[in-house]
Amino acid sequence: MSETTSDPTAPVASPAPASDFVKSEKPREPLLEIEGLEVSYRTASGDIPAVRGVDLTVHTGESVGLAGESGCGKSTLASTILRLEPSNATVRGGIRVCGKDVRTLGWSDLRALRWGQAAMVFQGALHSLNPVQRIGDQIAEPIRIHDSTPAKGIPARVRELLNQVGLPSDRAQAFPHQLSGGQRQRVMIAMALACRPELIVADEPTTALDVMVQAQVLALLTGLVEELGLGLLMITHDLSVLGSTCSRIAVMYAGRVVEEGPADEVFEQPQHPYSAALSAAFPRIGDPAARYAPAGLPGDPPNPQELPSGCTFHPRCPVALARCSEYDPPIRMAEPNRPVACVLVGEDGRDRSAAQSS
């Protein structure tokens, strides 16, 4: 556990020697290990808790989905993985990427970790790309700065990357505005792959894209995970996207993970009422129950500054009990490997929670 601010020039607690960054073949060690992560933002009107105790693990060759709505803290969590959070954020808890403690890493090692071992794909590719630079040059930039590829080999590597994401190599000469939305998102993925990272964090990678292009980009991402043995953390509010691409899903609400489990189980048989609502928001086409019956949740996601008492979901929960307004349920195992935070869930959930709340 360590507490650091995001200031990149902050004193380094335990600088790891650069030689540690030889890509190791250690099996079993998770690519990403988040333990007890808490993030709050200091503002003029007080501290705003954005992430309130999250544990999350991503292994090699695994794709993990993080689901949640705006304001639930999912993008804050993503930003802390590469220490990209804004400077008014206070971070507590442990974040290890490829075995390195991101919170205490020295500046040069952190630079090596970004791109080289873990890379991000952001939403809105149009805004992430430089409009006046050819895309080949933009893909080459991280390679030139972070990778050991000799300068002569860079154009070939750019062509290879473009082919890897399904773009013809002559697109290297194009400017971003000459590409369609899907092609720009492919360029973002090519950039993320440029320095052969082991972990990719994708924040809403398909949100602005339409169905067919979304399917192409998702197929590309899952293909790359299999082919290159990457770890993927995918963040979106669309549970159906995660259900079809990830092996595991964690659902976040108001800064905490409220349910986690195998993707198809969380999507098909959600245990937490919030996951159930997210899952029902995207109907199964052909299901007569969804005809003329769009499923929604009353109310809005909570304001992190004024979190409801007890279980933070209780004001919107369709099955809330009286005690839910006082008692915040801890994570319990609904089934082996299926942690859920709800009073209605868990073998002895009812009895124990009743005892604790009284």
Partner: protein
Amino acid sequence: MTGPLLRVRDLTVEFGARGKPIARAVDGVDLDVDAREVVAVVGESGSGKTTLARTVLGLERPTSGTIEFDKSPLPTTVRGLRPYRRRVQLVLQDPTGSLNPRQTVYESVAEGLRIHRMVTRSTDSESEQVSRALTHAGLRPPENFFLRYPHELSGGQRQRVVIAGALALQPELLVADEPVSSLDASIRGEILALLLRLRDELGLTVLVITHDLGLAWNIADRIAVMYLGRLVEYGTAEQVLSEPRHPYTQALLSVVPEMHDLEPTVLTGEPPDATRIPGGCRFHPRCPALLDGRAQNAAITEACRAKPLPVINTTEGHVSACWLPETHVR
């Protein structure tokens, strides 16, 4: 009610700039929308669905073809369009962009009433009309929202204010262009339920433009699938989504992430360009039926590549524009 509320016949809309090839965004569309009906136009980006909606609203001029609303042709003059634009209202995707950040909710909703001089024509005062519109849009009690600014509202509430602004003018047709795609998952269902309730309570007709087939299954009575400026399939939501006939509709449906049991047919490439519409069937360069041998077995590959398809007649029930014989069963 006899005859459709909205009748589109052989509509073509072209865009051209000097020195650039002409883009035919809408290329021969027939579409009937009955009163109190929810019709969804679905398709990828670049299919022409938004241009179709804008032309229906009188924001683009048809290059050729006709649009009739309530049995009279769409006015073409600014003066003539004014009463029409009260009867047909638009709701856009991004409520934050649709609202003036420096206007209160009351001002935003009352603006349309003032432009169309609705207050002098009615016995109800302006604030009564604003209250009624906010109540219909699910913002209760309305007085609590009068003096709020958009930044004080959640995304779902903002979209309700946009809808209230449209409802204040007592329109007959609501055109909603991706009404929920920028909203959170849990808010989405609430807004869609609101559109359905408005149809039931106020008798509104709704034309929804979307790429979201789940949305169409949730609320649409009929679905028109659009590809490169043409309707390629039309029918009730059950017909189009449970028994899709056109290979394009089948492919669209197979890539919806909820459809686990379908083998996804991911079409290669992006939607082609409206400045270069392929000959024959416009979908043939991407058509899975030409790749998997269905077209060869039916001996229609020549027709697919060279023979243009007729415009589908949307008064005939479940129809699709494809040369494959199995798509023509009645």
